[in-house]
């Protein structure tokens, strides 16, 4: 039996069920709009988007692992490459590039070539503190937590705020190994 080979992002993207990109963008826009109306505080909306992303991420990881056949990554560099090339391609249809590694190899930046969430979007003056794509940072954080990596994911550059690219910084805080969950006296 041939060993399982990890499938490339393009191959998987061609096989998964896809939705219309505009529908996706407009739905996401409607969600953010509604959150702004309900919560009013921009900081609160940022936090809520991150939490929503986290809840998505913890489920997304299983789908990712099942469909992409990747084996366990040996180190964080490989993890970042897999997220950028296979993960983003599979779920958003865009690839990202990995840059800005620090000396220890625990912190890197993912630069998105293209961000389907922000098509047609402009931030008004009242929402200048809003991280519109914060759901993505939550998704990455949630997914990595389910594979034993505690990370901190933040937006460094955001085109909606006037920068020239979308840059997501992923910082590995620690790797949490599996522990025997039952106590001995139970």
């Amino acid at each position: 039996m041939a060993p399982a080979v990890p499938r490339s992002g393009d191959a998987i993207f061609a096989n998964v069920e896809r939705v219309n990109a505009e529908l996706f963008t407009l739905t996401y826009g409607a969600i953010v709009r509604q959150l702004l109306t309900d919560l009013e505080e921009v900081e609160e909306v940022n936090k809520q988007l991150d939490q929503m992303g986290y809840n998505i991420g913890i489920r997304l990881i299983d789908e990712f692992l099942a469909k992409s056949n990747v084996t366990r990554c040996v180190d964080f560099r490989e993890t970042a490459e897999v997220i950028a090339k296979v993960g983003f391609k599979m779920f958003l249809g865009v690839t990202a590039s990995v840059t800005n590694w620090d000396t220890e190899g625990t912190c890197c930046s993912l630069i998105l070539d293209d961000n389907p969430l922000v098509d047609f979007v402009e931030l008004p003056d009242t929402c200048q503190g809003l991280y519109y794509c914060n759901i993505l940072s939550g998704v990455v954080r949630g997914a990595l937590e389910m594979v034993s990596m505690k990370t901190e994911v933040t937006w460094v550059r955001d085109m909606l705020r006037g920068d020239d690219a979308f840059e997501l910084q992923v910082k590995l805080l620690k790797q949490v190994p599996e522990e025997y969950p039952y106590k001995d006296d139970e």
Partner: protein, 169 residues
């Protein structure tokens, strides 16, 4: 069986044969030891109550994984036995066989462990376990009413699983 819409599940499920269930039982655990699913098709002997049985099974596999990784002759690490492992390290064990049954095991990097106990002449079930993992993703993970980390209560998942297992060689 076109219940997955456009997405492709690999391997594609085998055609169900007329024979009865080929598997004895199945467990699914998550990384915290919670038994998400226990299915039983053919188990004449039961010695422990279900809680103890789940703990025993989980503990057995946890220790086996640790042991097999430490005894790996091709690995260069010299960790001590009992030290918790990071998911990237160590080799993964697949199955063991006794004269009365064969136990096949698969663990995903996210900690989901799937265990299938079958008759001892079963062929290698790695692809089947992967298929079951795909079923788990489609029916359980994507279900918005399911809370991750709790036991699975999905009739559809159970029926699909039964159908698939019935067709296993």
């Amino acid at each position: 069986m076109q219940f997955f819409g456009g997405s492709e599940i690999s391997p594609s499920p085998p055609v169900p044969t007329a024979s009865g269930n080929n598997a004895h039982m199945m467990y699914i655990f998550n990384r915290n030891g919670v038994c998400l699913l226990y299915r039983e098709w053919n188990r004449p002997l039961r010695t422990l109550d279900s809680n103890q049985d789940h703990k025993l099974m989980f503990g057995l596999l946890f220790s086996l994984k640790s042991l097999t990784a430490k005894m790996d002759p091709s690995s260069t690490e010299k960790g001590n036995l009992g030290v918790p492992q990071l998911p990237g390290q160590g080799c993964s064990f697949h199955s063991f066989r006794t004269n009365t049954y064969k136990l096949s095991f698969m663990e995903s990097p996210s900690g989901i462990k799937i265990i299938l106990v079958t008759h001892p002449n079963a062929s290698d079930l790695k692809e089947s376990l992967k298929y079951i993992y795909n079923l788990y993703v489609e029916y359980v993970v994507k279900n918005p009413l399911y809370t991750p980390g709790t036991p699975i209560r999905s009739e559809l998942f159970n029926t699909t699983l039964d159908q698939y297992v019935r067709g296993l060689g």
